[in-house]
């Protein structure tokens, strides 16, 4: 009797003490009853809230950010020791409960196919631990992956579940209760062969490689003549930081000109990326890619096996953009390893939803046109504080392009470009300057009058 009384007093006082020490617990989202009974976006939001409920106030502030394209663009394929730019909470700082809750959420937003989706994610985290164990250094390892919510997960608002580290990036973005984008999604694997970590054997990014090699193997020599690029690619082209830089012209062979069997092979290759999403989300995005398949192009370079250094494959559709490249080993020097990225031409990140946050900022340097009004030739004068690829274009008031873009690769300093307007009728025009540097794209438009 006495013992029971003592115990209950003890437990009550402990509970009281806990309430006293952690009063902020009440402010946090209510722990969910059981998210597994829910489906679709409701399940995702429930699991996101459940993860948030496990965090301390300061951890929560690190995870839950407001939506911004600037933060969304802060992914990288560098190990953490080199890319210190990532936002969100570091997995290495989470306790077991918090980590389990984070993984539950990742499981719900990723696919269930073998060696794809959640399995692939776990395999790539294990690969990073494996590299760490091989002496890769403290920048490697599953503990160096970060998770952030950009925007509050809800059935109405815009939000991104961002997860990423060295060789895996998730950028799932939702709006009005639906996924609107799952890109940029970076996937890479070192080791590229099988490896065993903590008793499990893995070989991630295997289907991807096989799918590309199968397409190349299906090419007739006539197909290959069109589909093979003479250039060498020692890396993917649109890696981190290369946002908004899709090619103007598509390279390679048009999928619409291939056989039905070959089209299936291309679709299968696309699926090795969309399979990384849960079934509902995949259906929304893959449907779009499938409808556009005939207008999609593929191009490759290298030996065609996708195993030799410099082997390269690109799928470039009206929406879909996938690149895969084999490069030399970094930690395991004897073995090549692939890098690949899945992007979406119509809208990486948020599918163009945040029109108010424009990633293309205004060019603030000197940009003069004289004489203006112009009779025949005008000189455009500009000054650059860093080297840039500069494009000058002229459009009429309806946005129609009037001249071939004037493109120049400029050092920093002052530069002049001559604009010939002889062929244009009198009227008002917009002269747009686009300055592309390592830090991004800046634009400025000025009015030009032709007499």
């Amino acid at each position: 009797m006495k013992v029971k009384l003592l115990l209950s007093i003890l437990s009550i006082s402990i509970l009281g003490l806990m309430a006293f020490i952690k009063p902020e617990k009440d402010l946090k989202p209510k722990p969910p009853t059981d998210c597994e009974t829910l489906t679709g976006i409701n399940k995702i939001i429930c699991l996101a809230d459940a993860f948030k409920a496990t965090l301390s106030a300061s951890q929560l502030a690190t995870v839950q950010l407001s939506y911004s394209l600037t933060d969304a663009a802060k992914w990288s394929n560098l190990p953490q020791s080199l890319s210190k730019n990532r936002v969100g909470i570091q997995f290495g700082t989470l306790n077991a409960t918090q980590l389990a809750a984070a993984k539950d959420l990742l499981k719900a937003i990723t696919g269930t196919a073998a060696n794809e989706g959640f399995a692939e994610l776990n395999a790539l985290l294990a690969a990073d631990d494996y590299l760490n164990g091989l002496g890769g250094g403290s920048g490697y390892g599953a503990g160096n992956y970060y998770m952030a919510f950009l925007g509050t997960p809800s059935t109405t608002d815009l939000f991104e579940i961002q997860f990423g580290g060295h060789h895996h990036t998730v950028s799932n973005t939702y709006y009005n209760g639906k996924i609107i984008g799952a890109t940029p999604a970076f996937r890479a694997a070192e080791p590229s062969g099988t490896f065993t970590q903590s008793g499990t054997t893995y070989q991630p990014i295997l289907q991807e490689k096989a799918a590309f090699a199968a397409i190349i193997a299906s090419f007739s020599s006539a197909d290959a003549a069109i589909a093979k690029s003479s250039m060498t690619f020692n890396d993917i082209v649109l890696g981190p930081g290369k946002d908004n830089q899709f090619t103007t012209t598509k390279l390679g062979i048009k999928v619409g000109n291939l056989t039905a069997a070959q089209k299936t092979l291309v679709l299968n290759a696309i699926k090795t990326y969309t399979n990384d999403l849960n079934a509902d989300d995949e259906a929304l995005i893959l449907g779009r890619y499938q409808a556009e398949l005939d207008e999609t192009y593929v191009v490759y370079s290298g030996t065609g096996t996708m195993e030799t250094k410099g082997d390269y494959f690109r799928i470039d559709g009206p929406s879909v953009w996938i690149e895969y490249n084999t490069q030399g080993g970094i930690i395991i020097k004897s073995e090549n390893h692939p890098h690949s990225v899945w992007r979406d031409r119509k809208g990486d990140y948020d599918y163009g939803k945040t029109t108010s946050i424009n990633p293309i900022s205004s060019f603030e340097g000197k940009f003069n046109i004289f004489p203006n009004p112009v009779v025949d030739n005008s000189t455009i004068e500009l000054s650059l504080d860093q080297p840039a690829f500069v494009t000058i274009s002229l459009t009429d008031m309806n946005g129609r392009k009037l001249i071939t873009d004037l493109k120049n690769n400029f050092s920093n300093g002052n530069h002049q470009v001559t604009l010939n307007t002889n062929s244009l009728p009198s009227g008002s025009y917009n002269c747009t300057l686009e300055v592309k540097t390592n830090e991004g794209i800046k634009v400025k438009t000025k009015k030009l009058t032709k007499i």
Binding site: P79, L82, G139, L238, T248, L251, H339, N409, S411, G413
Partner: protein
Amino acid sequence: MRKALFLILLFLPIFSKAHPMPNSVVTLKFNEQNIVATLLLPLTELESAIGKPLNDSTKINDENYQQELKEYIQKHLKIQGENGQFWKIDIHEINFESTKQPETNIDYNELSINILLTPPSNVNYRKFTLFYDIILHQVFTHSALLKIEQDWKNGIITESKPLEIGVIAWDIQSNTLLPMQINLEEGSLWKGFKSMFSLGMKHIWEGTDHLLFLFVLLLPSPLSEEKRKWAKYIGLKSSLLKLFRIITAFTIGHSITLIFGTLGWINFSTRWIEILITISILISALNALFPIFYNREIYIAGGFGLIHGLAFSNTLANLELTSTQMGLSILGFNLGIEAMQLFIMSLVLPCLLVICRISLSTYKKVRLVGVAIAIVSALAWLVQRVTNNSNFITNYIDRASEYLILIISLLIIFTIWIWIKNLKQIPLNEKFQS
């Protein structure tokens, strides 16, 4: 615990490796009439471009191979001046080098190629179009960084970080590789002079050893000698006169060797000069403890000035400038050194004089602390310079310049505090008597 471990890891020097494909680097050095370019070409990338293995140091030294590489470079590097004329391109040296990527520590091999670029006579050689597609003609993902290592007339010298002026790479969107248009500022003798002046100032500000030497040399100058000990305050006028003579002697000394050393008339190994400098600090520190060379300070200051000047001249000798540029450099650099020395002394000396005048016993404490710091630092430097290894003390002192303002401010605050304390103790009429 995990957090603590993470924090520890955060501060450990991280041996990191990573992926950015190695770039080529083109550095330009502007001479009076021409440009010397150094190309660093990563061999793995060059192999991709040429399509055959190159990663072999013995092959690189083979004459036929060198000839083949020279032809390759001539084919992929052209410069067109403002007037449409092409420049002369002479490839001087092709060397095989093993190196590490600075940020990532990845080992890789590269070719280092020295090229002399000569414009047609009498053209503005700061405005030209660079047709460069070495490696890039084949490897789409490659890029070449263009940097200026030295352009004296624009105030860019080897001591500063190279200025990046361009990136030569394929434009992904338009799938084009355009020539690089370069238009740098004209530059002027005045700009070059200014940058040498600031370099001189920087050298003193960051040259803790020079400052410490000067400080301990001047420490006992307001004092008279009695029975082989430092004794009384010799009065403001005498002190200032003595300080002036010491500083002038030091200046004359270091100016002479700065000129001679820069012009290459005398040549000593940097290491020995640095060792001599630490010894000069030690001797001056001992002199601040007991008078060793009382009344002969100017000879000592002048003599040690000669040594310190040699250290300064090493900086300039490395620049390989023309005679006009060299003359202006010596003048600018020396004036910069002078200006910074005077600036720091004008903050420190009044403090010393005030303390000395108010309280000899406090001044003795200041003197002993100064001597102690100087001796410990000098010994640490001596060990470092003899063994060629830095130690924990030098790691701290070499960073002292970051806190120089703080150190001087503390001295000033301390002086003001002594002065205020003194105001309370001594009646007003007595204050001006000493």
